[in-house]
């Protein structure tokens, strides 16, 4: 395990992506260690989600390396893997929490099936065990285990988001990417969700990249902060450092605009 501390889970170098002749990511570099939470903030259209999607393999970058330290095969460059290789190599080491839980859940299947799906995908074929694990995870994300057979369609927005998080964490990934996980939730539900996330991240020693435009979320959750503008990283550092002493004009504007 000492090797894990010395080696980052994720290291991105020189990442670039264009849509047509529009440059959306230029020269992105970042690294992330186990147990660390990195927040990416920036105005909408600054490339936050595109960066997350590139790391997740949903779109292919034009240039650069995405080095991921997988459990099975050591360090691999995600940017060069084909989809089948990608599945074999990283398996369930990588999770992705969508902004809208409806994108990340099967709304017409039961909550238990939603948590069970990644286990099935990982090859587990024992009904009783899958159900037990699903019930445990419902407890961990504070959903009544009696609702295991209800479809998430009947859940509130906050519960759906917590279910999506359970579904992503059930296979104990090394890295979880979260795209505005608290967007669209009211403030009290947000606070509970953040509390839960903080606890799970500490318990599981997860590495997390969280994209948000809410500086409050970043301050509460993140160890480090990255500020993006127009597809570039313009400022990076410890969260408190960046928020208390922003150097770039844009960051200063962002911090001062918080109500």
């Amino acid at each position: 395990m000492t090797a894990d501390l010395e080696q980052p889970v994720l290291e991105v170098r020189g990442l670039a992506k264009s849509f047509g002749d529009r440059r959306v990511l230029s020269d992105i570099a970042l690294s992330l260690w186990p147990g660390e939470v990195l927040a990416i903030v920036g105005e909408s259209g600054s490339g936050k989600t595109t960066l997350l999607r590139a790391i997740d393999g949903q779109l292919a970058p034009d240039d650069g390396e995405i080095l991921f330290h997988s459990r099975n095969q050591g360090v691999v460059d995600l940017a060069t893997l084909s989809e089948s290789q990608r599945r074999r190599v990283i398996g369930n080491d990588l999770g992705y929490v969508h902004q809208n839980p409806r994108d990340g859940l099967r709304l017409d299947l039961s909550a238990g099936a939603n948590i069970g799906e990644p286990l099935l995908q990982a090859g587990m074929r024992h009904y009783g065990r899958i159900r037990q694990i699903a019930a445990d995870w419902l407890g961990k994300v504070e959903i009544d285990a009696a609702r295991i057979d209800e479809p998430p369609m009947r859940f509130s927005g906050g519960m759906q988001q917590r279910l999506q998080i359970a579904r992503n964490l059930v296979t104990e990934p090394r890295l979880v990417l979260m795209d505005e996980p608290t967007g669209g939730l009211d403030v009290s539900v947000q606070a509970r969700l953040l509390d839960l996330l903080r606890r799970l991240v500490a318990d599981l020693d997860l590495a997390v990249i969280i994209v948000t435009h809410d500086l409050g979320v970043a301050r509460l959750l993140a160890d480090r902060l990255m500020v993006m503008q127009a597809g570039r990283i313009i400022e990076t550092g410890l969260t408190d450092q960046v928020l208390d002493d922003p150097h770039q004009p844009y960051t200063q504007l962002l911090v001062s605009s918080v109500l």
């Binding site: 989809e83 238990g112 099935l120």
Partner: protein
């Protein structure tokens, strides 16, 4: 282009042998060869318009027309029975357009076209069974996009398919899918066995006969070569089971065959008889009736 082979002879009533033109048959045979080479993989083919509506066996008929020869003996069943409209029509169709001998006896047939059943009498080496398939894609209920289901097949991404079993067990305590029960062929491709009852699934496994599947509407052909493993999906703690009946066949007393429930009067009296008419008849004729 070579000249058309021989003039339609008197036995085929003015049609080309087995109705389809030779070029179409070749195209379909190529698809069948590919399907046999990759067991369980759905091969697209340029399905022809047939003189009957989709859903009546246009896929099966095209496959049959492409593999049938003058020496073949054809049997056609629908839900196990030789005497239902669909079976009679298709049998007559090939008797007229190919002039081949037809039979109702499973043991005498060299080629069997079927809808929704596999005969109870075990098939032998050298026989070919052709299934009519309405929905060839077993992942369709889960994923409506064809591009996505193809990708799932390519990556053997079949975990989500078990969700159907999971939901059944969670809700009813057992798997309730009674027909078209999904199978994995040769340890690789997930395959819909066409809507045969679950009872017939074990008959697919390592069958000595060649099994061909034709879907006319969706224009797909797939196959199980002889002696290929076919495994029905299940969980370790909920193994695959076939259904059973509390009764025997009312005609022949069979305990191991698929029974149809028949309402025989206007007071709801019910009788259970074999759906496979040939199997039932031969048992009655052989004196094994009660």
């Amino acid at each position: 282009m070579s000249a058309p082979t021989a003039k339609a002879d008197t036995t085929t009533g003015g049609y080309n042998f087995a109705y389809l033109d030779e070029q179409s048959k070749r195209m379909i045979r190529r698809a069948i060869l590919k399907a046999v080479a990759i067991p369980g993989y759905q091969v697209p083919f340029a399905g022809r318009e047939m003189p009957l509506p989709y859903g009546w066996g246009t896929g099966g008929i095209q496959v049959t027309a492409s593999v049938i020869g003058r020496d073949d003996v054809l049997k056609v069943i629908d839900q196990g029975a030789d005497d239902t409209t669909n079976a009679v029509s298709i049998r007559k169709f090939f008797a007229k357009t190919a002039g081949v001998r037809t039979t109702t006896r499973t043991t005498e047939a060299s080629l069997i076209q079927t809808r929704h059943r596999i005969p109870e009498t075990p098939l032998k080496a050298g026989q070919i069974i052709v299934f009519q398939v309405p929905i060839p894609e077993p992942l369709r209920w889960l994923e409506p996009r064809e591009t996505m289901t193809r990708r799932m097949h390519a990556l053997a991404d079949y975990g989500p398919m078990y969700l159907k079993l999971y939901e059944d067990i969670a809700r009813f305590g057992r798997v309730t899918t009674a027909y078209d029960f999904p199978t994995v062929v040769n340890g690789r491709y997930l395959m819909s066995p066409s809507p045969i009852p679950r009872l017939d699934n074990p008959k697919l496994n390592r069958s000595p006969a060649l099994q061909l599947f034709g879907a006319g509407r969706e224009k797909r052909i797939y196959a199980i070569p002889p002696h290929t493993s076919v495994k029905s999906l299940d969980f370790e703690d909920h193994p695959f089971e076939t259904e059973g009946w509390s009764q025997l066949c009312a005609r022949c007393g069979a305990a191991d065959s698929f029974l149809d429930e028949l309402v025989v009067d206007d007071r709801g009296t019910r009788r259970y008889v074999c759906s496979d008419t040939d199997y039932c008849d031969s048992r009655v004729a052989g004196g094994s009736a009660r």
